[in-house]
Amino acid sequence: MTVSTTKKAMIIGLDCATPQFIFGPKAFDLPNMRRLAERGCWGKLESSHPPITVPAWASMTASKDAGELGIYGFRNRKDYSYDGMFTANGNAIREKRLWDILSRAGKKVAILGVPQTYPVRPVNGWLISGFLAPDTNADYTYPKAFKKEFEEAIGEYIIDVKDFRTDDKDGLLERVYALMENRFAAARFLLETRPWDFFMMVEMGLDRLHHGFWRFCDPEHPLFEPGNPYEHVFRDYYQAVDRHIGALLEYADEDTLLMVVSDHGARAMHGGVRVNQWLLNEGLLSVTDDLSEEKRFEDCAVDWSRTRAWSSGGYYARVFFNVEGREPEGIIPQSEYEPFCEEMVARIESMTDPEGRPLGNKAYRPKDLYRTVRGVAPDLIVYFGDLGWRSVGAVGGTDSIYTFENDTGPDDANHDYHGIFIMADAGTNGGGLERTGLHLMDVAPTVLDRMGVPIPADMQGRVIGAKE
């Protein structure tokens, strides 16, 4: 439903911005976001499946679910071989995203730091890619020649936080702040110097902050210690982000649709489930290695003739089945695929925590999550502890399936199902209403609707009205 047509739109994306810190009783004092919400509308924004940066931002900007995009995480199987994987950078997204559609409608776009925009594709305007660019030696801007002017204006573009896995929290905090300052300086430069109709940026620092500092800030985290020196870093960082948002709003006029959004939320991580070790214990996976010491699963020699399932770790698990006629040495007959899948869902969902309580795992089949399943999807997408536990791929060292040490270094948070949505509609008083039932795929059609650009019929989201 069209409420009003705006001339311009500005989306400020905050990767991993978490509803409880912005809207709820634990909300920090964030005057700029609060004013925006009071002027318009706000609510939780349901993320993609899986709720991970890739595919979430692409799902938001193309209004397609991960199945339709054929992207199930950062690393995806390129075929049914055991080792054929690809990194889902911008090339992996074939669907037109908001800036592609608006560019083709003659709108000038300025895009900054949105994941999966490297390698860069031409737009009608300017694009500075996000953290899937290898480094700043790469051609990470469009136009290519814009890079020189851009770097002269803001200095070195910080693609991401370096040395993230560290116990040097002071150093990490400094680098996360540097990322934020750099990203917002770049935003101001674009807004000041480029004639834009559509501006979109993504600030990655909140995600890095949550993963690096959750245990210090959340009293519900098992390792929280009251009075620790980092207890208020979330509050301080969110407030700094809010001040930057206030500065960006100065570049918007009354004909500008404003949105502050995030791709997913975050929550305390209680531990990790060693998913491949569990598969070993259950007799579903076989390796020929000496497992007296812990090993990365990728470094193991798998006996495929005795393996029915294996998994990749991360904030969620992707479980793959070794299917006859599909995988090179598959052993599960096609006719047994469905019953095996059902059995696996039941076994995974009945797992317990170290105290024998139900973990609350969720195991999903792609066909139950997505409208279409493209590419080579995992056979199961698993959220351990309903995302309270991470998936750890390593095997050996112990038979235990639980770990409280991340095998890649300190990490205190996992992702959560809901991000944030704040929208102030140009010229319309939304009454500061809380909206429910919002999905990140609603963002793109809403922007197109307000800007008077036809919405492609295959977009899956719906237009968010200002009031209803």
Binding site: F74, P119, L132, T408
Partner: protein, 128 residues
């Protein structure tokens, strides 16, 4: 063999758009040829027929509409004065892809870049 076509360009920024389009077509692995006034002067009256021959053999011919009237399949493009040459070329690539004449697969990371990004993603906890 996949068919080609002749793309005839007209409008502002023609030379720059032609260059950008040819560059991108070659990056994408397509066989492409330029048909501007310099080439048509050498081909004379046969330039239009040459377009047909090339296209029939799977070549995408990028032609200056003022310099040649191509025979055979053609896509006429009036360049939008608001578009940069690169973006004008991107829009033409969209049309060619829709016609099934090219695949928009881009060059990916080289192995060193792939490893660099994989390590970063592992460091960030997204993958293991």
């Amino acid at each position: 063999m996949q068919n080609g076509i002749t793309v005839t360009l007209s409008g502002p920024g023609l030379a720059e758009t032609m260059r950008a389009l040819l560059t991108r077509l070659i990056e994408l692995g397509a066989r492409a040829e330029r048909m501007d006034s310099e080439i048509t002067a050498r081909l004379g009256e046969g330039a239009g027929f040459a377009c047909r021959l090339l296209a029939r053999n799977g070549v995408i011919v990028v032609a200056d509409a003022a310099a040649v009237t191509p025979e055979g399949d053609r896509l006429d493009v009036e360049i939008d004065p608001n578009d940069t040459p690169d973006f004008a070329a991107e829009k033409i690539l969209d049309q060619l892809a829709e016609e099934g004449l090219i695949d928009l697969e881009l060059n990916d990371y080289d192995p060193q870049e792939e490893e660099q990004v994989r390590k970063r993603l592992a460091d960030l906890g997204y993958i293991e």
